[in-house]
């Protein structure tokens, strides 16, 4: 028999998980949908405009960076990883922030978070969080001016309204300054600093961030978090993300909140508040699960996630920023090589 016509046996690996970067990214994008819809329902169309701006930035930046680096454009542009980066970033910035905030943030995240290091797979830091850290340090005022949900400020932000606010910074149909306010996390921080007890801050008062007429008495921010939780559970079910990340992160955050709330309930908010405010659930399922910048060993993943949970609580309670997710994640990103080195799994057949 002619050797050339012999059937070629399939080479290893024999087990496939049938995943490609694009497939994973699409799943993640899909899992973010409930939160996106919830966001539109509660906070108006600001996030849609921001997302479109971010996508345009991502296409331009990716194209020019790939051209500059002499890499093929189409395969890297269509792996959609940068789409997830900018989507993660868009959820972190105020929906009515001026247009240049999201544009510079996305560009910084992609250029300095990813391409400078050699592209996807080589970046030590999570690009979305790097972009967020860049924005919160560079534009603290714009990044902390959050619009209130329509149930509180009584004005639903339509698509045209959102475009007007984002590009001109003002609104003709309503006084824009009346629509913004402190987020629950900020409210809590200010309250504690002024000696208001946690219970008083959390008590539902009309016109206050704690006011709510939704189901279960949860406020709008809590519902966004729950929407992320739903998307996250889908990702867990699909095995796109590992369980160590959310379990470690939420577990350690819960433990910290529970211990300190038990120690002094007037100064430290209850665990339910900590877990359902800020970007907790977004981080737990969508940000810290980033396979490139996270730890890669099973034990390491758990340590990494626990570290982020503890740091988030520390920064929220005693730091200067209302939400410490970005800094906690970047700090643990730095620690990843060390964690990986000390948590190498035992090779099968080797000594215990």
């Amino acid at each position: 028999m002619n050797p050339a016509s012999m059937p070629i046996p399939p080479s290893s690996p024999y087990a496939h998980n049938d995943q490609t970067v694009r497939k994973v990214m699409l799943q993640v994008q899909l899992a973010a949908m409930p939160a996106l819809l919830m966001h539109i329902y509660l906070f108006g169309f600001g996030i849609v405009v921001q997302w479109l701006l971010a996508v345009v930035t991502y296409l331009i930046v990716e194209y020019s960076m790939l051209k500059l680096r002499g890499r093929p454009v189409i395969p890297f542009l269509t792996d959609l990883s940068a789409l997830i980066t900018v989507t993660g970033l868009v959820f972190c910035i105020p929906p009515t922030a001026p247009w240049w905030v999201v544009v510079t943030g996305s560009a910084f995240a992609l250029i300095f978070g990813k391409h400078i290091y050699g592209g996807l797979g080589y970046n030590p830091f999570n690009p979305a969080m790097l972009g967020y850290a860049f924005l919160i340090i560079s534009f603290p005022v714009q990044m902390t001016t959050w619009i209130m949900p329509s149930e509180i400020n009584g004005h639903y932000l339509g698509f045209m309204d959102a475009i007007e606010v984002i590009f001109t910074g003002a609104l003709t149909s309503a006084d824009f300054d009346m629509l913004t306010g402190a987020t629950p996390l900020n409210e809590m921080r200010i309250g504690i600093a002024q000696g208001v007890t946690v219970a008083e801050t959390l008590a539902p008062i009309a016109g206050h961030t704690s006011q709510t007429h939704y189901w279960l008495g949860l406020n709008s921010w809590a519902w966004i978090n729950i929407a992320f939780l739903v998307g996250g559970i889908y990702l867990l079910y699909k095995r796109t993300i590992r369980w160590q990340f959310p379990v470690g992160f939420l577990g350690s955050l819960f433990l910290m909140a529970w211990i300190f709330h038990g120690y002094n309930p007037e100064m430290y908010p209850p665990a339910s508040f900590v877990l359902l405010s800020g970007g907790t659930m977004l981080a737990a399922f969508f940000i810290i699960t980033d396979p490139v910048s996270a730890s890669t060993t099973p034990v390491g993943r758990f340590i990494y996630a626990c570290g982020i949970g503890v740091l988030v609580y520390v920064i929220r309670s005693w730091g200067t920023f209302p939400d410490g997710l970005a800094f906690a994640i970047l700090l643990m990103n730095i620690a990843v090589p060390l964690i990986d080195q000390y948590t190498q799994p035992r090779v099968f057949g080797h000594k215990r």
Partner: protein, 254 residues
């Protein structure tokens, strides 16, 4: 890389000193100076290639005028120290040369420090500790050790001047870059250096420009310097790619 460039100059220096009147020798000297100039400004730029003196470079380059102030101070110190070190080069024994050089540099820095305190008092206050710290700037000791202690006075002065100028250019460039991005102005507070007439030298690019605070903060210095070095390497690579040998084949030797 530093030393191969500078050491190559040593052998013919004594011969050149002996006869200076012949035009041929003058030509050779000019070529030599040109080499020193290129070395200081580009090939062996203390800030971008040798990466010496980064502490003051990163710390005070948050606007162009601060950069210019510290750059000029460093340039002056480098000129004085290179001259003196070169003058005493044959009288200092090898074992104690470093303390002697440091003493010379420290004297020069103290002079500059007092002069700046007298004539640019506010700028002196802004630059603060970084002026006395010029003593520990490795670029200055580096030039004293690697060049001035091995070469004639005239060449040491030229080297000191262009090394200092190269450092100054990078300081001002980085300062200007950070100032433009960070606050949207250029040459703000120029009156601290050039007197009252310079009060309106400030160039404001756009009134509603929102400064990128990060550029003025320390991370901005690192990112900015990294980008400058990348730009320099890019230009060098482009140049090297263009080089061809006699057969018309491209060669990639730097």
């Amino acid at each position: 890389m530093t030393d191969t460039n500078t050491l190559a100059d040593t052998p013919n220096s004594t011969a050149a000193d002996a006869i200076e009147t012949t035009p041929n020798v003058w030509q050779a000297k000019k070529a030599e100076y040109k080499k020193i100039m290129l070395n200081g400004l580009w090939q062996n730029n203390q800030a971008m290639v040798a990466l010496l003196g980064l502490c003051p470079l990163l710390a005070v380059s948050n606007n162009a005028v601060n950069g210019l102030g510290l750059g000029l101070a460093t340039l002056a110190v480098l000129l004085v120290s290179n001259t003196l070190v070169s003058l005493i080069r044959s009288h200092v024994s090898d074992e104690i040369r470093i303390p002697v050089y440091i003493a010379i540099i420290a004297t020069a820095v103290t002079m500059i420090d007092l002069l700046m305190n007298a004539y640019f008092h506010t700028l002196h206050g802004i630059l603060g500790i970084f002026i006395p710290l010029i003593v520990t700037n490795c670029a200055i000791l580096g030039r004293a050790e690697a060049y001035a202690s091995k070469n004639s006075v005239d060449k040491a002065i030229v080297d000191g001047f262009f090394m200092g100028l190269g450092f100054l250019v990078v300081l001002v460039l980085l300062g200007a870059l950070r100032e433009i991005i960070g606050s949207g102005t250029l040459f703000d507070q120029a009156h601290l250096m050039f007197g009252e007439t310079a009060r309106n030298w400030t160039i404001t690019f756009s009134d509603d420009y929102q400064g990128v605070l990060l550029a003025i903060l320390p991370p901005g210095a690192f990112i900015g310097l990294g980008l400058l070095i990348a730009a320099k390497n890019y230009i060098d690579q482009k140049k090297a790619a263009k080089l061809q040998n006699d057969l018309g084949i491209k060669i990639a030797i730097k």
